[in-house]
Amino acid sequence: MRSSPRLFARASKVSHETADSELPLTSSSFEDENRANESWDLGESDAPLQVRGLTKAFGGFKAVSAVSLDAVAGQAVGLVGPNGSGKTTLINVVTGVYRPSGGSVTFKGRDISGMPSHRLCRLGINRTFQIPHPLGDLSVQDNIAVAHASSRSSQVNFDADPLQFVGLESVANIQASFLTSSEQKLLDLARALATRPDVLFIDELGAGLSTRELEHVAGLLRQLKDAGLALVIVEHLMDFLEQIVDTVVVMDAGSPIFRGTLRAAIADRRVIDVYLGK
C-alpha cells in the first residue's frame, strides 16, 4: 500500500509548474485496485533494448517499481507522468548512473543491468541530461571530439556532423561554459549523437525552450527516429511529444499505469485520475 499523503505532496508540487501545453495537473490519490490488473509483461520481443521489471529503491522508497519497456529501432516512446513518478530515475538506472535493485536490462540479448555508463556508451546506449552539464572547460568542438572517440559503427543511418546537425557549428571554438542554457541542451544532444548510439534517452530536452526552439528540436528528433535510432523521450510538453512519439508510457509513483498512443492516454480514465485526481 502506498501512502496517499506522499502522493499528494508530490502531485501538488507539480501543479505549480503547469504550462499551457501540459495536461492540467492537480493533486491525485488513487487506490491500488486501479492498477492491480495491469501486468506489464511485454514477454519476448525483438526490440534491441528490453527493460524487464526494473526496480530501484532508495532505502525503503521505491522510486522505480517493476517497470518494463522496449526501445525499438526507428520508433520513439514517450515517458510521461507527474514529477517524481520515476522517469528520470528509470533513465539513470538504465544508463548506469545508479545500480538497479531488481529486474533486468538487456541490449541485443546481452544482460547490461548495472553496467557502468562508459561501457553502455560504447555499446550504443546514450542519453541527454535534464540539466545539461557540458564539459565546461573544453571548447564546444572538444566536447564532441571526446565523445566521438567512443563512437562505433552502427546500423543507424545517421552520418551528419553532430554539431552541424544541431546547429551549433558556428560556436564550435567557444568554451562550452559560455553557451546559453538552450545551446547547452543542444550540445548535450550533439555529444550523445557523436557516440553514434542505437538507443537514445532524451530527458526533458524541451523544458525551457522557446516555441521556435521546440520546433527545431522536434524536427531534429524526428530526423533521428527516421534514421533508425530508438528514442525514449521524457517530456511534460504534450504538444511537443505528439510530433515525435509513436507510443507513450504513463508512469505514476514509480510504476507504469498506461501504455498506448498519446491520444488514447489523454482519454484514459486512469491517466486522468493521476493528473486530475478522482
Binding site: H118, R119, Q141, D159, S170, I174, S210, E213
Partner: protein
C-alpha cells in the same frame, strides 16, 4: 551560405562536414605558429621536450653549483607531476611528498641491500612510488579538501613507518656509496625531467589528456561520452606517483646521506604545488618556468633567511589563486587558462567574425532567441 565569406571555424566544418564512424574530428587550430597544422603541431609537441633540457644542459657553464641545479631539476619534475594530477584531474595532492619519499627510500634501500646499479635503483624508486600509489588509490574516491588532507595524512603515516622501523635506517640515517658523480647526477636528473615533460606533452596532445580534462569538467557527462572515469583518474595518479618516485630516487642518489625527515619534509609538496601553480597548470612549460624562477629565488633569499622566502611565496600563492589562477602562462598561453575577466574578453573576440560578418540568417540557431533564455553568464550568488 557558401557564397558568403566564412569564418575559419565554418571553413573547417564545411571541409569536414561528413563524419563517418571512423573519421577523426580535427581539433586545435588549423595553423600552428603560422605553420601548416601538421608540421606546426609536431614542432609544438617536440619543442618543449628538446628545448628545455638543452637550455638547462648548458646551465652548469653559467653557474657551476651542481647541487643547486640538480635540486632545481628535481623540483621541475615534481612540479610537472603535480601538474599531471592537479592540472588535469583537479585532485590536489597535498601529501605528494609521500611518493617522493617512497622513491627515495626505494632507491636507497635497493642500493643498500641489493647493491643494484644506479639506473636500476631509479627504476625501483619509480616503481616503489607507483606501488604506494596503488595502495593509496582508494583515496581517489574522495574529492576536494578531503582528498588533499587524506594524502597529507598518508604521507605522514609513511614517514612515521620509515622513521620508526629499524630496517629502513630512517632514524639512524641512510648512507649510500657514490653511484653517480655530481655531473652525472645532474644529467640523469635532466633525463628524468625530459621524460616528465614528454609525459605532459603526451597528456596535453592525446585523447587521454582530453578525457582527463573532460572528467575534471563533469565526471557524469564524461562517462556518458564513453570515458572510463575511474581508469583514467587512476592512470593519471600512477603517472604522477611514478614521476615523484623517480625524482625522489635521483635525489637520494645525489644526496647519499640523509635521515627520514629530509625526503618526507612537507615543504617539498608545498614547493612543488606552488611552483606548478606559479608557472601555470595544464600547460607543459608552466611548471618548468615556475620551478626554475622560484627555486632560483629560494637559492638567493631562502637558504639564509627561510622566513623571508616563506613570506614571499605565501603572498604569491594568495595573489595567484585570487587573481591569476592560471599562473604566469595564462598571460601568454591558450585562452582556456586565462582568468575569468580575460577569458570573457577573449570569447567575445572569438565570436567577432560571426557577429560582425552578418553571414546567413541565425535561424534555426537558437542564438536568435537569446532574449527568451537570459544571459550566458552563469552568475553566482551574492557573496
Amino acid at each position: 551560405m557558401p557564397d558568403q565569406p566564412t569564418s575559419p571555424t565554418e571553413e573547417r566544418f564545411n571541409h569536414e562536414n561528413k563524419v563517418g564512424p571512423h573519421t577523426r574530428i580535427a581539433r586545435g587550430p588549423t595553423r600552428v605558429w603560422g605553420l601548416p597544422s601538421r608540421w606546426g603541431r609536431w614542432i609544438r609537441r617536440l619543442a618543449p621536450i628538446v628545448l628545455a633540457p638543452t637550455l638547462l644542459g648548458f646551465a652548469p657553464h653559467l653557474y657551476n653549483n651542481l647541487s643547486f641545479l640538480t635540486t632545481m631539476v628535481v623540483y621541475v619534475v615534481l612540479a610537472e607531476g603535480v601538474n599531471v594530477l592537479y592540472g588535469y584531474t583537479g585532485y590536489l595532492p597535498f601529501g605528494y611528498v609521500g611518493f617522493f619519499g617512497a622513491g627515495a627510500y626505494g632507491a636507497a634501500l635497493s642500493i643498500s641491500y641489493w647493491h643494484v646499479s644506479g639506473f636500476a635503483a631509479l627504476a625501483i624508486g619509480g616503481l616503489a612510488a607507483a606501488l604506494i600509489g596503488l595502495v593509496l588509490s582508494p583515496l581517489l574516491r574522495l574529492s576536494g579538501a578531503y582528498f588533499a588532507l587524506a594524502t597529507l595524512a598518508a604521507s605522514q603515516v609513511i614517514y612515521y613507518i620509515v622513521a620508526n622501523e629499524p630496517w629502513t635506517y630512517g632514524e639512524s640515517g641512510t648512507s649510500l656509496p657514490e653511484i653517480f658523480n655530481a655531473n652525472q647526477a645532474y644529467f640523469v636528473a635532466l633525463g628524468i625531467m625530459t621524460l616528465a615533460i614528454a609525459v605532459t606533452v603526451f597528456i596535453r596532445e592525446s585523447h587521454f589528456g582530453l578525457s582527463l580534462r573532460a572528467i575534471r569538467s563533469d565526471p557524469v557527462s564524461a562517462a556518458m561520452a564513453g570515458i572510463n572515469v575511474v581508469k583514467a583518474r587512476t592512470l593519471a595518479w600512477f603517472i604522477s606517483a611514478a614521476l615523484a618516485g623517480l625524482a625522489g630516487a635521483i635525489w637520494a642518489i645525489m644526496t647519499a646521506a640523509f635521515y627520514a625527515e629530509s625526503p618526507f619534509d612537507l615543504t617539498i609538496s608545498v614547493y612543488a604545488i606552488v611552483f606548478a601553480l606559479f608557472g601555470g597548470v595544464r600547460t607543459v612549460l608552466g611548471p618548468v618556468v615556475g620551478a626554475v624562477v622560484l627555486y632560483t629565488l629560494y637559492q638567493y633569499i631562502g637558504i639564509s633567511n627561510p622566513q623571508y622566502f616563506e613570506l614571499v611565496y605565501g603572498v604569491l600563492i594568495i595573489l595567484l589563486v585570487l587573481f591569476l589562477p592560471g599562473g604566469l602562462s595564462s598571460l601568454i598561453g591558450h585562452s582556456g587558462n586565462r582568468p575569468r575577466w580575460l577569458r570573457f574578453v577573449t570569447s567575445r573576440v572569438n565570436r567577432a567574425p560571426e557577429l560582425l560578418s552578418g553571414t546567413g540568417q541565425p535561424i534555426p540557431h537558437p542564438r536568435a532567441s537569446n532574449q527568451d533564455l537570459g544571459g550566458r553568464e552563469n552568475g553566482r550568488d551574492g557573496y
